[in-house]
């Protein structure tokens, strides 16, 4: 199957059009590279007046290297694959005629690196046009010349900023940073590209001097110390790709010959691709792709029907944030609460979210205003006969939710989905309050809604499969990533998170200082320590969810007394100004007042490693239990959910990938020790215990994205 078309027009300008057959995307796999090599050889012989590289796809220029290829290669193969790409892109860079990349759609990784090998980069201002080098997010670095050519084009500081953050930018900021030369409307893109290709090579006097190797050498020397510190602050040393990329840019950009810089790239990427970090990150990437295409098993293909009208019940933090997100995605939303003051507070939150999106250039003024306009607020009952989905986000009280659902069931059209955003209550029980429990489903967003991509689609006992499927489609439609979870206390993410938070509170009560606990988990790679997280969630809410879970998991979830005492003292976390920390100053400070609720010293002497181990093991154990109880279908769901829902150290790949890395045997051994030392909550679950014996793992070796089919079905083979 051909991937590239070559045609030369009457002005003797050659156009290479990437158009991968049978796909809506262009990617670089080995075949495409070889094909490209053939075309470049031909062009070298034919000597056209100019060359334009473009894509025939609707929303993708070139999406980058094929990750399946990348993931499947062993050391030597990988090295030669990288060198192949480098040499082809080099030969493009060495062509004597003017070369132009005409970019429309996603232009990422290798897709942008081929553009960097061209003389000119012209992009459309379309929304689908996104330009960047996201490699470090996969634990590798741009190694087809990106790390070498970008600093030579826009300077070291600019290149560091783009590459180390793995930035993906729309056309306008890309132009401002010098990553592209010109923006053209889509209709005029080829016209502009042909014109440049018919002209002469660019001179770029200024950048040739400013960003020349000798200057770069000096700049790199001056920057190195500062950049190293800043990078470490961000990675905590957990992301070797960021550090390697930094090093390649700083050293490579000072090399007179680009070949030496390319060599550094190639060496670095071969080292990095082997690391578990990269394997974990690539696996997570596959999970994300999987979530975008997810379907509910066993459901006939539904006609694709986009939701255009929705209602959100409850204008609190979650309700308003959900309404804002839906509206931002073009859905008209009825936002209902019980009085005008609550609705006003919700609308205010919505306006602030849109205002900040406008400030960040996510939306134009008109788009932001339209977003607000699409929301119809109401403090009174209104007809719901036009809505296709209702998301309830009212107060977490079962009685209230039952009442709300009984009423919604009467109001909503027969084919509308009734969804609840509850984070802990039983979907099945809520559904029982309706006459049509089969159309009730959980759609659980995480806070803050506009940042958290994960949404748990919770399937109740009576939820009809095609309702679950429509809920998944809805989540995908609004640009979130669904994970399907069976209805059970705490669903997936909160269920795993809560034992960890409860344990952190218990350790605090037993004398472990707040900052030591938090630092221990930051070191582990969590985005936020457990004590800060409790404060952010709200001490009362954390306690409430913990109580709900404790009702079911009596044996292993012992509520410490700290949280109720803090609630009594009015220390509710960030929202009340103080919890485990105080939030009066710009940076949160440890709250000395909270210390009086610590009534032992048994944990005071624990070193951070010990504390970390305890908290992490509880998460691992609960994660395994979710799999064991078939709350989710596969190990990947658990890890994906935890990374996307809580920010669980992505480089570790999730709690189950972490267990694999540690080996289940080691995990179980440590837990058994802790049962005696710390309590029965450390009793390893059946699945882990069994895996410790058989030596099986959650994931198969070296196959990113695939899980061991046996691991999840273990339970059936055990007594």
């Amino acid at each position: 199957m051909p991937n590239i078309r070559r045609a030369t027009n009457k002005d003797n300008i050659c156009v290479l059009t990437f158009d991968r057959e049978g796909s809506s995307a262009n990617i670089f796999d080995k075949r495409t590279l070889l094909e490209l090599e053939g075309h470049i050889d031909a062009i070298r012989n034919e000597k056209p007046r100019g060359l334009v590289i473009t894509s025939a796809k609707d929303s993708i220029f070139i999406a980058g290297a094929d990750l399946n290829t990348l993931a499947g290669l062993r050391d030597e193969e990988l090295k030669s694959y990288i060198e192949l790409g480098q040499s082809i892109f080099n030969s493009i860079a060495e062509l004597k005629m003017p070369t132009v990349a005409a970019i429309h759609g996603a232009c990422l990784g290798g897709g942008y690196e081929i553009c960097l090998a061209c003389d000119y980069r012209i992009a459309t201002d379309d929304r689908s046009t996104k330009i960047g080098l996201p490699e470090v997010n996969l634990g590798i670095l741009p190694a087809w010349g990106g790390s070498s050519r970008l600093p030579r084009l826009i300077g070291i500081p600019g290149a560091l900023d783009v590459i180390l953050a793995g930035r993906i930018l729309p056309a306008i900021p890309a132009l401002k940073r010098g990553m592209i030369d010109l923006i053209a409307p889509r209709e005029y893109l080829m016209q502009a590209a042909l014109k440049h290709a018919g002209g002469h090579k660019p001179r770029r006097f200024a950048s040739r001097i400013l960003y020349s190797a000798p200057v770069n050498k000096v700049v790199a020397l001056a920057l190195r110390k500062y950049v190293t510190i800043k990078t470490l602050e961000r990675t905590h040393g957990h992301y070797p790709a960021v550090e390697e990329a930094m090093d390649v840019i700083l050293r490579g950009s000072g090399e007179l010959s680009i070949a030496r810089s390319l060599l550094l790239e190639a060496e670095a990427v071969t080292r990095l691709a082997k690391t578990p970090v990269s394997k974990n990150l690539i696996r997570l990437f596959f999970f994300q792709e999987g979530a975008r295409k997810l379907s509910y098993p066993g459901v006939q293909k539904l006609p694709p029907r986009k939701i255009v009208r929705a209602a959100v019940i409850g204008a609190g933090v979650m309700g308003a944030s959900i309404a804002q997100w839906l509206s931002a995605r073009g859905i008209r939303v009825i936002l209902k609460d019980i009085d005008a003051a609550r609705v006003a507070a919700g609308m205010d939150r919505i306006m602030q979210l849109f205002a900040s999106a406008y400030k960040r250039h996510t939306f134009t003024f008109v788009e932001a205003r339209d977003g607000v306009d699409r929301i119809s607020p109401t403090p009174v009952d209104v007809p719901m006969k036009n809505v296709e989905i209702i998301v309830e986000a009212a107060v977490e009280k079962m009685d209230l939710k039952k009442k709300v659902f009984a009423r919604l069931d009467e109001q909503a059209p027969a084919d509308a989905i009734l969804a609840t955003n509850t984070s802990a209550l039983s979907i099945t029980e809520i559904a029982a309050a309706t006459k049509n429990p089969e159309r009730v489903v959980g759609i659980h967003f995480f806070n803050p809604v506009h940042k958290m991509q994960l949404v748990e689609v919770v399937v109740g006992k009576q939820t009809k499969p095609d309702v679950a499927q429509r809920a998944i489609r809805f989540v995908q439609q609004i640009g979130k990533l669904p994970v399907v979870v069976q209805d059970s206390p705490g669903f997936l993410v909160n269920r795993i998170l809560l034992p960890y938070l409860v344990e952190a509170a218990a350790l605090f009560e037993a004398g472990a200082p707040t900052e030591v606990l938090d630092d221990a988990m930051l070191d582990f790679g969590m985005p936020m320590g457990p004590m800060r997280l409790i404060d952010e969630v709200g001490v009362d809410i954390a306690a409430d969810v913990a109580m709900t879970l404790a009702g079911t998991f009596k044996d292993r979830l012992k509520m410490s007394e700290v949280l109720p005492k803090m609630i009594e003292a009015g220390l509710l976390g960030r929202k009340s100004g103080a919890g485990f920390y105080t939030y009066k100053s710009k940076e949160p400070r440890v709250n000395p007042q909270a210390a009086k609720f610590c009534n032992e010293t048994s944990a005071a002497g624990f070193n951070p490693g010990e504390l970390q181990r305890r908290m992490v093991l509880l998460m691992v154990n609960e994660a395994a239990r979710c799999l064991e109880e078939k709350i989710v279908m596969k190990a990947g769901d658990v890890d994906f959910g935890m990374v996307m829902g809580t920010g669980f150290a992505p480089f570790r790949g999730g709690p189950l990938a972490y267990a694999d890395a540690e080996t289940p045997a080691k995990i179980v051994e440590d837990m058994k020790t802790l049962v005696l030392a710390a309590g029965p909550q450390y009793e390893p679950c059946t699945l882990l215990a069994e895996m410790a014996v058989t030596g099986r793992k959650f994931y198969e070796e070296d196959e990113p994205g695939k899980t061991d089919p046996d691991a999840s079905s273990t339970k059936t083979t055990l007594p």
Partner: protein, 424 residues
């Protein structure tokens, strides 16, 4: 009348004094809130609407054809047309009766009509002399020409012309609205005391009707606060306080004060109207139906008398006499003006000059402006007509009455009357 027009539902924003709670919102935003709330509470599929017609007097310079802006922002599909109408203070009536005329011309059966006005946002204007100089500056090419163009400006060029003041002045007679009220006070010998007493009653009635009025209001959410009430009516208004005010339009001999004139106010009203047939098909129970209407011209200097002229026109129609009306509204542009209209309606001479056999008649005070009027509630000029329709219908329902007569005086010398019957 071949097609009967029914009013299915209506809703309005609170009416808020200029420069207060709603001051930051333009007429388009106020209108959007009202139309959006109307669609929400009726559950009407917006694609069924045939046209959106809104009245607006001070049409915003940044939202030309404000009705179209309102419609699109409120979620009416792009395929549905919209137009803005202007008949000064009767613009809200005009939107309503235009819909009726469209229906009878076979141009649609479902309309959203209303009025929107932000008097807070009427702009200040540059004088023409300044505008000419700005144009000169733009044409100037060389530095020297530009300096010359700059030099042509004089400090006086920058004194603004107040748009609101210009809008409330009748260019034909040269009088502003308050001065036309002074003319009526003089000619009909209406004392200051009489006017103030009328104004006080308007406040008392509006304050007493707060709960009733709440039924027709949808909250507006401004910076985290829900604006849910009209802020014009003053519960503590006293006759002494009214008497203390200085005449505003004729400082020496005048009797018209800010207290016995309508307030300058922001607000919007939206009504859903359709043919009786469509309402039945869609399963709506209408609030009422249009029974008759008239617009009439009169002397611009005495524009306040307009309602009498308009009512004289409908006197000839069967069944539309004020004796049969359960509710009567004469919009309170000025207390003096309402009182003058009342006298004129009783006058034999007037009846004769209009070719009527009898005077229109005496207006019973217990039927007139029963929930207060524009003196208390405020007069967002383009919206008031639509508010009278909404308030009148709701009151008719409460009183279990049958017929309402709603009228307005119109700057430039016109009068308008709309007659409504309760039910479908």
């Amino acid at each position: 009348m071949s097609e009967r027009l029914v009013i299915v539902d209506g809703i309005r924003t609170p009416f808020c004094k200029m420069g207060t709670s709603l001051a930051t919102l333009g007429a388009d935003e106020l209108g959007r809130v009202a139309v959006n709330a109307l669609l929400l509470r009726t559950g009407l599929d917006p694609a069924l609407v045939d046209e959106v017609i809104f009245g607006c007097v001070a049409q915003p310079v940044d939202a030309a054809n404000v009705s179209r802006v309102i419609a699109l922002r409120a979620g009416i599909p792009q395929s549905v047309p919209a137009m803005t109408v202007h008949r000064n203070c009767a613009s809200g009536f005009e939107a309503f009766t235009t819909a009726y005329e469209r229906m009878n011309a076979g141009r649609g059966s479902i309309f959203i009509v209303g009025g929107a006005e932000s008097m807070s946002q009427v702009p200040l204007l540059f004088k023409q002399s300044a505008a000419n100089k700005f144009a000169g500056l733009q044409r100037a090419k060389s530095i020297l020409q530009k300096l010359g163009a700059f030099g042509a400006f004089r400090p006086g060029d920058f004194a603004p012309r107040i748009g609101l003041k210009l809008g409330l002045t009748d260019p034909v007679s040269g009088l502003n609205m308050g001065q036309t009220a002074e003319v009526l006070a003089r000619e009909f010998a209406i004392s200051r005391g009489e006017q103030d007493a009328f104004a006080l009653r308007s406040h008392q009635r509006a304050v007493a009707a707060r709960e009733k009025l709440a039924e027709e209001i949808t909250p507006v959410y401004v910076r985290g606060k829900a604006i849910t009430e009209d802020n014009g009516p003053r519960a503590n208004q006293s006759i002494e306080a009214l008497a203390d005010l200085r005449p505003f339009f004729d400082r020496k001999f005048g009797t018209v004060t800010a207290g016995n004139s309508s307030q300058i106010t922001d607000g919007a009203v939206a009504l859903l109207v359709m043919t009786e047939k469509r309402a039945a098909e869609l399963g709506f129970t209408p609030l009422g139906r249009l029974a008759g209407y008239a617009y009439s011209g009169c002397d611009p200097k005495r524009m306040g008398l307009g309602p009498a002229f308009a009512v004289a026109k409908t006197e000839r129609l069967p069944g539309l006499s004020i004796q049969q009306a359960d509710i009567i509204e004469i919009n309170e542009a000025f207390a003096a003006q309402v009182i003058a209209v009342e006298s004129l309606m009783k006058s034999d001479n007037f009846a004769q000059s209009m070719g009527l056999a009898h005077p229109i008649g005496e207006i019973p005070q217990e039927k007139l402006n029963v929930n207060g009027g524009s003196i208390a509630l405020g007069h967002p000029v383009g919206a008031t007509g639509a508010r009278l329709i909404l308030t009148g219908l709701k009151e008719l329902q409460r009183r279990n009455g049958k017929l309402a007569m709603l009228s307005l005086c119109v700057g430039g010398g016109q009068g308008a009357v709309v007659w409504l019957e309760r039910g479908g």
